[in-house]
């Protein structure tokens, strides 16, 4: 399975590097959203729960863009049949797609977090960076796992552009809540890490459940 997953991941990353479709769109969307929040809220600086909420809603919506594109090359270029004809464990497809989405999210955050800090965020996140990275890492795992699952589910659907957000956003609501709650004290004027452990635990549990669920059902999603 590792060999097949590595081959699919390598192919996806090569196509992304060549076409630059997902990550630049996610980054551009996020920066645009921050600017819109700036004007919509009529605020120069955000902190605490509002800062945390704005960041995570933006990242969540940017994820929808990538999930919509996750199987685009298979769909548009007939590659899905190529994958299905290969003698591979289909879980390899899930692993490759989830890892690709995870990497896209990391690249997005490398752009979006500094942009957020410059455009909207009041307190500097620099001192809280290790805790913030831990929350992002856990949340990304949930986003990538559920994103890959929903992308596969919608891959062959006619109304996939509607289906992806309608399925993805409710499924990711627990990630949004836990990640926002975990981030909130990090963005406070007087940062603290009091409840970070509790919400990180919620994120970890969510990740575990959906990783196991995805591995169990993914094969059936790609069946005729």
């Amino acid at each position: 399975m590792t060999r097949a997953a590595a081959a699919i991941l390598r192919k996806d990353l090569l196509i992304e590097v060549r076409t630059k479709q997902s990550v630049p769109a996610m980054a551009l969307f996020s920066v645009t959203a921050f600017v819109l929040f700036h004007f919509g809220l009529d605020r120069d600086r955000l902190d605490g729960e509002l800062a945390s909420g704005v960041l995570w809603v933006t990242l969540l919506l940017a994820t929808v863009l990538a999930v919509n594109r996750l199987f685009a090359h298979e769909r548009e270029q007939g590659g899905l049949d190529g994958l299905l004809l290969a003698p591979i464990d289909r879980t390899a497809v899930f692993v490759a797609k989830a890892v690709a989405l995870y990497l896209y999210l990391v690249l997005l955050e490398l752009v979006a977090i500094p942009a957020y800090a410059i455009l909207l965020l009041g307190p500097s996140p620099v001192d809280q960076l290790p805790a913030l990275i831990a929350v992002l890492a856990l949340a990304n795992l949930g986003l990538a796992t559920v994103g890959a699952l929903v992308a596969a589910l919608a891959a062959e659907a006619r109304a996939r552009d509607l289906l992806v957000p309608l399925l993805l956003l409710p499924l990711l609501t627990p990630v949004l809540i836990a990640a926002a709650r975990a981030t909130e004290p990090l963005f406070a004027v007087h940062p603290e890490t009091g409840e970070l452990g509790k919400w990180a635990g919620v994120l970890g549990l969510y990740d575990l459940v959906f990783v196991l669920l995805s591995v169990a059902v993914f094969d059936f999603l790609l069946e005729d």
Binding site: I15, H73, G78, G79, G82, I88, D224
Partner: protein, 220 residues
């Protein structure tokens, strides 16, 4: 090698294949004929394990479908309407990707590219290749893992006479492989076939042997 007994397949309410039975031995060629929408592509996809039969028994390469589909995958060379190639990758990158999926040594990529006469354009993105060249690379993809069974849907479409001649030893009768050949070329297809299957609206109107006149009747 292939044995279908009473196989049916639906798309919603529409029967795409209706009670189709046919058998084919090792090294033989099954010619599949029929007008557009007759069920030819559905049959090919079913044999490739991309679709499940909804009724009947299907055995391919000694394995029952869909239960043992995983044993069939990787032993079938499928050349359908879509080339199953990524347009943003080069011909070589596409074949290397498929070689990795099939556990084939990547050195074989050069051999199959040479076999289809595409080694000079191997580094070109597939989107920059002509239709005929794409068809040649798709043929290389289908042959990469040296499958004993070839499922071919109009395999000579878009090929110029020289390219068709080049591919003949690879996908023609002289390849020695068992083949299922979907074609609208009645005379050519008939000459290549050991067994014929004539489909009309999913039903096997002709199964076994037929002359060209009977097969042309499928298109009226």
């Amino acid at each position: 090698m292939i044995e279908l007994v009473g196989v049916s397949r639906r798309y919603g309410e529409r029967l795409a294949l209706d009670d189709v039975s046919v058998s084919l031995g090792d090294g033989q060629t099954l010619g599949v004929f029929g007008a557009n929408g007759a069920g030819k592509t559905t049959l090919l996809r079913l044999l490739a394990t991309l679709l499940r039969p909804h009724a009947g028994t299907a055995r391919v390469l000694g394995c029952e479908l869909p239960g043992e589909a995983w044993k069939v995958r990787g032993r079938v060379g499928y050349l359908g309407h879509d080339p199953l190639l990524y347009r943003d990758l080069t011909a070589r990158e596409n074949l290397t990707f498929h070689a990795r999926l099939h556990g084939v040594a990547t050195e074989r990529v050069d051999a199959v590219l040479a076999g289809v006469g595409m080694q000079r354009r191997a580094e070109d993105p597939v989107r920059n290749l002509s239709r005929g060249m794409v068809q040649r690379v798709a043929t290389a993809r289908a042959l990469l893992h040296d499958p004993p069974l070839l499922l071919l849907d109009e395999p000579r479409a878009n090929l110029d006479p020289k390219a068709a001649e080049l591919l003949e030893p690879l996908i023609g009768r002289e390849s020695g492989r068992t083949r299922v050949l979907v074609t609208h070329d009645v005379e050519g297809g008939l000459a290549e076939s050991d067994v014929v299957l004539g489909l009309r609206r999913g039903r096997a109107e002709i199964a076994g042997s037929a002359d060209a006149r009977a097969l042309r009747g499928l298109y009226t």
